[in-house]
C-alpha cells in the first residue's frame, strides 16, 4: 500500500529578504525537501531594452547603468564596446587601460557586495558591514571619476566622459593596499568556518556538463571546473596584454563558487596593479569627428568642434546598417550586447544577454531534492541582480 505523496506549495518572495530583490520562487515542498522550484521574474521589469530603441546611441548609456546596478562600469563598457564595434571606432590606448582598471574595480565591488549579502543569508551578519566598508573605497573612486557613486555613466562611446581624475592613481593604489588584508580577514571568518562550510559545501551542486548545457557563465560555470572566461576566450579592450589566471573550482557547489569569487578578487587586484603601473598617457577620447563628442575644452574655443558638438548632441550619429554582438566578462558572467542597426541614429534593437537572467534559469536544477534552507544558499550563490534579470 503506497501512501499518497502530499506536497505543499509555498511562495518565497517577492518580498523575501534573501531573494536579493523582488524574485518570487514558487516552491513545491515535500516536508523539508524541495520537489520543484520555479522562479517567477518580472517584478522589476522597466522595459529598458525597449527604452533603448527610442534613444540616440549616446543617450542609451544611462540605461545600461541601471540594469546591473552593482556593476555599472561593466554595463557601460559592454554597450560602448558594442557601439564602437558597429561604428568601427578605435579608442586610444589610455582609454583601454583605464577601462580595464575600472572594469576590474567593478568586479571587486560586485563580488564584495555578493560576499556580504551571501553571508548574511547564511547567518554571518558582520560580513556585510565589512564588505561594504571596503566597497566604499571603490565607490569613492567612481565618484571621483564620474561624479556619482552608483550610476556612473563614465564610460562613453569612443572613450571616457572626462579624463581620469588627478588623484586616480592614489585612490586606486590605496584600494590595492587595503583590500588584500581585508580579504585575509574574510578568509579567517568564513573559509574554515564550520557553519559556513556546512551550509555551502555540497549544496547547490551543478556538474560541468549541466553547467554548459544551461549556458551558465561566470563563477557559476567556473565553479564546476569549466575554463571559460570571455577575457581569455575573446579578449576585448586590451585584456590580452594583462597577465592573470582564471580560478577554477572542482565540485561545482556553493563553497567552490565562494572560493572562486575570492580568488577572482585577487586576480582583479593583479590586473589593476598592472593597469595602474602601465597606464599610458594620451587623450581620453577617440578623435572621430561627428561620432565622438569633442573634448569640452575644444568646444569652447574651436568653431569646428562646436559644430560637431551641436550636431552630435541634437541628432546623434547614424550607424551603418548591420548588427553586432559584443560580449564582456561582467562580474556575474558573460554580458553581451546585441545591437542591430537600421542605418538611423537610434538602435533598431538592443538585446542584452544578462548573465544573471541566464544563470537564474538553473535554480530549479540546483535545489532539486535539497532542503528548504538550501534554497537561500542556492539563490545567493548564483549572484543575481534583479535589475538585470528583469531589465
Amino acid at each position: 500500500m503506497s501512501a499518497e505523496r502530499k506536497t505543499m506549495t509555498i511562495n518565497m518572495g517577492p518580498q523575501h529578504p534573501s531573494t536579493h530583490g523582488v524574485l518570487r520562487v514558487v516552491l513545491e515542498l515535500d516536508g523539508e525537501q524541495v520537489v520543484n522550484a520555479q522562479p517567477h521574474i518580472g517584478y522589476l521589469h522597466t522595459g529598458i531594452e525597449k527604452t533603448m530603441e527610442n534613444k540616440l546611441y549616446y543617450k542609451v548609456i544611462p540605461c545600461t547603468d541601471r540594469m546591473d546596478y552593482l556593476a555599472p562600469m561593466s554595463n557601460n563598457l559592454g554597450y560602448c564596446l558594442a557601439v564602437e564595434k558597429l561604428m568601427g571606432i578605435e579608442v586610444p590606448e589610455k582609454v583601454k587601460w583605464a577601462r580595464v582598471c575600472l572594469a576590474e574595480l567593478t568586479r571587486i565591488k560586485s563580488h564584495l557586495v555578493w560576499l556580504g549579502t551571501h553571508s548574511i543569508d547564511l547567518g554571518a551578519m558582520t560580513m556585510l558591514l565589512y564588505t561594504f566598508r571596503e566597497r566604499e573605497s571603490i565607490v569613492d573612486i567612481y565618484e571621483a571619476c564620474g561624479g556619482q557613486r552608483m550610476m556612473t555613466t563614465y564610460i562613453r562611446i569612443g572613450g571616457l566622459s572626462k579624463d581620469l581624475p588627478p588623484d586616480f592613481d592614489k585612490l586606486v593604489r590605496k584600494v590595492l593596499e587595503t583590500i588584500p588584508s581585508h580579504l585575509r580577514d574574510y578568509e579567517d571568518m568564513l573559509t574554515n568556518n564550520e557553519i559556513f562550510i556546512n551550509r555551502t559545501r555540497g549544496v547547490a551542486v551543478i556538474s560541468a556538463d549541466d553547467a554548459v548545457n544551461y549556458s551558465l557563465t561566470g563563477p557559476m560555470l567556473r565553479g564546476s571546473g569549466v575554463n571559460y572566461d570571455v577575457r581569455k576566450a575573446n579578449p576585448y579592450s586590451g585584456y590580452e596584454n594583462f597577465d592573470f589566471d582564471i580560478p577554477l573550482g572542482k565540485n561545482g557547489d556553493a563553497y567552490d563558487r565562494y572560493k572562486i569569487r575570492l580568488a577572482e578578487i585577487r586576480q582583479s587586484l593583479r590586473i589593476i596593479q598592472q593597469a595602474i603601473d602601465g597606464m599610458p598617457e594620451g587623450p581620453y577620447r577617440a578623435h572621430v569627428p561627428g561620432v565622438v563628442l569633442p573634448p569640452k575644452e575644444d568646444v569652447l574655443y574651436k568653431m569646428e568642434s562646436m559644430i560637431f558638438h551641436f550636431k552630435i548632441i541634437t541628432e546623434g550619429f547614424k550607424a551603418p546598417f548591420g548588427a553586432v554582438y559584443q560580449a564582456i566578462e561582467s562580474p556575474k558572467g558573460e554580458l553581451g550586447y546585441y545591437i542591430s542597426s537600421d542605418g538611423s541614429n537610434k538602435p533598431h534593437r538592443v538585446r542584452v544577454r544578462p548573465p544573471s537572467f541566464v544563470n537564474l534559469a538553473v535554480l530549479p536544477k540546483l535545489v532539486e531534492g535539497a532542503l528548504f534552507s538550501d534554497v537561500v544558499c542556492a539563490i545567493g550563490s548564483i549572484d543575481i541582480v534583479l535589475g538585470e534579470v528583469d531589465r
Binding site: 565618484e143 571621483a144 561624479g147 550610476m151 566622459s161 548632441i313
Partner: protein, 168 residues
C-alpha cells in the same frame, strides 16, 4: 578519534579565529559618519542639484540654446526664450523636473556656454510633487557671489565678441 580532533579544532581554533576578527573591530575607529551632523565632502565632479551660472557682472550665462534639453535622456528640461534689454537671448522659463531627472550630467556636458552645472547639493526631499519642478529663479546662483570660478572664460568671451556695455 580523528573526527573528534577535527571537531575540537573547529570549535577551539577556527571559530575563535573568525570571532577574533570581529573582536578586533571593537577597538577600531568607526568608519561610519554621524550623518546629519557630519557630512562627507563631495568630490569635485559630484553630480547633485543643478545650478545656473552667471557671468562675473551678474548677467546670466544661459542663452537658452536648448542643447541641454536635447541631450537630456530623461526629457526633464523645459525652456522658453526671450531677449533681455540688450537684445541678448536668455531663458524666460527654464525648468527642470527633478522627479524625471536621473542626474546623469549630460546637460552639464552639453552646455556650450558653461551655464548649467550639477552642484554638490543632494538633500532636496520635499513632501509635494510640484516643488520638484525647479525654476530658473531657484537655480540661478545668487549675485553677487563670493567665488569667481569662470573669470578666464568670461574675459575671453567678452574680448572675442567685443562687448563693452555692461548689463546692469
Amino acid at each position: 578519534m580523528k573526527e573528534i580532533a577535527k571537531a575540537l579544532g573547529d570549535v577551539f581554533i577556527q571559530m575563535p579565529k573568525g570571532l577574533l576578527v570581529t573582536f578586533k573591530h571593537l577597538f577600531k575607529k568607526p568608519v561610519t559618519l554621524d550623518y546629519p551632523r557630519k557630512k562627507k565632502p563631495m568630490t569635485p565632479r559630484y553630480r547633485g542639484l543643478h545650478y545656473l551660472e552667471r557671468y562675473d557682472d551678474g548677467s546670466e550665462r544661459c542663452v537658452c540654446c536648448g542643447l541641454c534639453a536635447a541631450a537630456c535622456p530623461a526629457d526633464a528640461i523645459y525652456m522658453e526664450p526671450e531677449e533681455n534689454e540688450h537684445g541678448e537671448r536668455r531663458a524666460k522659463v527654464y525648468e527642470i523636473n527633478l522627479l524625471r531627472c536621473i542626474f546623469c550630467g549630460f546637460c552639464e556636458e552639453a552646455c556650450p556656454e558653461e551655464a548649467i552645472f550639477l552642484g554638490h547639493e543632494y538633500e532636496f526631499s520635499n513632501d509635494n510633487r510640484n516643488s520638484f519642478i525647479y525654476t530658473k529663479g531657484q537655480m540661478l546662483v545668487p549675485h553677487p557671489r563670493k567665488d569667481k570660478p569662470f573669470k578666464r572664460i568670461y574675459r575671453r568671451i567678452r574680448k572675442v565678441y567685443g562687448v563693452t556695455d555692461k548689463p546692469k
